[in-house]
């Protein structure tokens, strides 16, 4: 089954072309590595899927259903979750509250079980701002887990993260893969891409220049 498909997505910001006629398909349970230089359009591609920006042209399908006309919150409710390149945690809220926002009514002990999985249980009552960069990333992973998202979009989850937290993040990603989640991973380290991804797309100036 095709989990996510983009057809001819284009987006311009003023005169800058961020995405130019981008199309691809990704099967359920697979991980796509998204690579490319700075400003090549990787984040904009994720934003187009979650409707953080509205594409100028093109269509997005999730499990065969067209979603690009839906508002962002409805897309999220379909089971599409993401980890942001920056600013993804609510810094003035506690670690637990950050998870409870995502869990929407699920019990606190469910949230605690997941905090344990991402090694943040002792930080439960602390403000998210007090976490390290890597711990903030892990917290975002916790949200994706608590929501049980089917499609998970990861925007450079290893950037600026310590070696130890990188290992934790990698093992969380592997666990999500074992659970059959579909993942799009933006990442610069090619060895890591090789380890984690089934297919690769490279962007340059908003166009796909390589597929593997």
């Amino acid at each position: 089954m095709i989990a996510i498909e983009l057809k001819g997505i284009s987006k311009k910001f003023g005169g800058v072309t961020a995405l130019d006629n981008v199309s691809f398909k990704l099967e359920k349970g697979k991980t796509l590595g998204l690579v490319g230089g700075n400003g090549s359009g990787k984040t904009t591609l994720l934003n187009s899927i979650t409707k953080m920006v509205a594409p100028d042209r093109g269509e997005v399908y999730f499990k065969g259903k067209r979603i690009d006309k839906l508002p962002a919150y409805r897309i999220a409710r379909l089971g599409i979750g993401r980890i942001f390149q920056t600013g993804g945690v609510f810094k003035n809220m506690t670690v637990l509250e950050n998870l409870l926002v995502a869990s929407d009514g699920k019990r606190e002990n469910e949230a605690e079980r997941i905090l344990k999985e991402v090694a943040l249980l002792e930080k439960k009552g602390k403000k998210a701002a007090t976490l390290s960069g890597g711990q903030q990333r892990l917290l975002e992973f916790g949200r994706v887990m608590v929501r049980n998202d089917e499609l998970i979009l990861l925007d450079e989850p290893f950037a600026g993260v310590s070696a130890e937290n990188s290992r934790k993040i990698e093992s969380v990603i592997k666990k999500l893969q074992e659970e059959g989640k579909t993942i799009i991973l933006i990442e610069h380290d090619s060895a890591r891409i090789k380890r984690l991804c089934n297919q690769i797309i490279e962007l340059e100036k908003g166009s796909i220049i390589r597929r593997e």
Partner: protein
């Protein structure tokens, strides 16, 4: 005499605690700077008075005060959804001004600037709340109910979601939060309680005029919220207590009343300045209220 004076202050504290808690919901939790809160207060006051003076029972006027204010909260939330930060503040300011000028100009209904005197004290199912003690009990019960209802709401998913949209709307939306609906609900609930406070105020003072429900009043409520702390209900109660009591000693030092009014304003302004410098998060709060004006996300 002294007992009457204390009861009077306690009644005011109850009324203003409801106002500051309800404003905290909109501004402290949801992060929308609302400079029109006194308008909801006024709408509630006028609605209740007009309904009760038309011969309906107090409880009906009281509930209608909340409901009608909530309806105006819904109206104001429509432009509020499109605006952020300072622009939202200006829109709410304009809303307050529109309501004030309606109260001034719709004289058949409101008697305009003359105000409405002779407002009856409440009677609920045969119990008359005509003494200070009785009124204090009524005000206290309503303030306590408001506190518990708001606390329950804000500790639920709703409150957590409001905090999330205050922090970052896009991220909240990416977690499935319907940001527009949540903001609307915040305005509706906040306005509802402000309307109840309006009813409580009008039937206590027994006289209302449009001059009571103006920007200065909203600023006082905002100051209570900021002093107690954005995002803390207990803080809002504390803020109301402090700011109601603080100017009171001025009464006893024999200053002419022409001086007391402006002096009160100066005290409030001084508190605001000290607060911003020394304790920007308020006494019990989590976030600096200035952040709401200066950044949108």
């Amino acid at each position: 005499m002294i007992e009457a004076y204390i009861l009077h202050l306690l009644i005011f504290i109850c009324i203003y605690a409801i106002l500051s808690m309800s404003l905290n919901l909109i501004t402290g939790y949801a992060g929308m700077l609302n400079l029109g809160h006194a308008a909801f207060f006024g709408i509630g006051a006028y609605a209740s008075v007009l309904i009760v003076m038309a011969g309906f029972p107090f409880w009906l006027g009281f509930i209608a005060a909340g409901a009608i204010a909530a309806f105006f909260g819904l109206l104001l939330s429509v432009p509020a959804l499109r605006l952020r930060g300072d622009f939202l503040a200006i829109a709410t300011l304009a809303f307050g001004e529109i309501i004030r000028s309606i109260l001034v100009n719709w004289t058949e209904f409101t008697r305009g600037p003359l105000g409405i005197p002779g407002i009856p004290k409440p009677e609920i199912f045969g119990i008359a709340f005509d003494s200070l003690w009785m009124y204090f009990i009524l005000a206290f019960i309503i303030a306590a109910v408001a506190y518990f209802v708001l606390r329950h709401l804000l500790n639920s998913n709703f409150g957590i979601a409001l905090k999330a949209i205050r922090e970052n709307e896009s991220v909240a939306a990416s977690l499935g939060k319907n940001v527009n609906l949540l903001k609307m609900q915040a305005f509706v609930v906040g306005a509802f309680f402000a309307g109840l406070a309006g009813s409580l105020f009008a039937h206590y003072i027994t006289f209302i005029d449009p001059g009571t429900f103006v920007l200065g009043e909203t600023i006082l409520m905002l100051l209570m919220v900021a002093l107690g702390g954005m995002g803390s209900l207990e803080g809002s109660i504390l803020g109301a207590i402090i700011l109601i009591l603080l100017p009171e000693p001025l009464r006893f030092i024999g200053l002419p009343s022409a001086v007391v009014g402006p002096l009160r304003q100066i005290i409030y302004a001084a508190i605001l300045i000290v607060l911003v410098i020394k304790k920007p998060r308020g006494l019990l709060g989590t976030q600096w209220f200035g952040g709401i004006v200066s950044d949108s996300n």
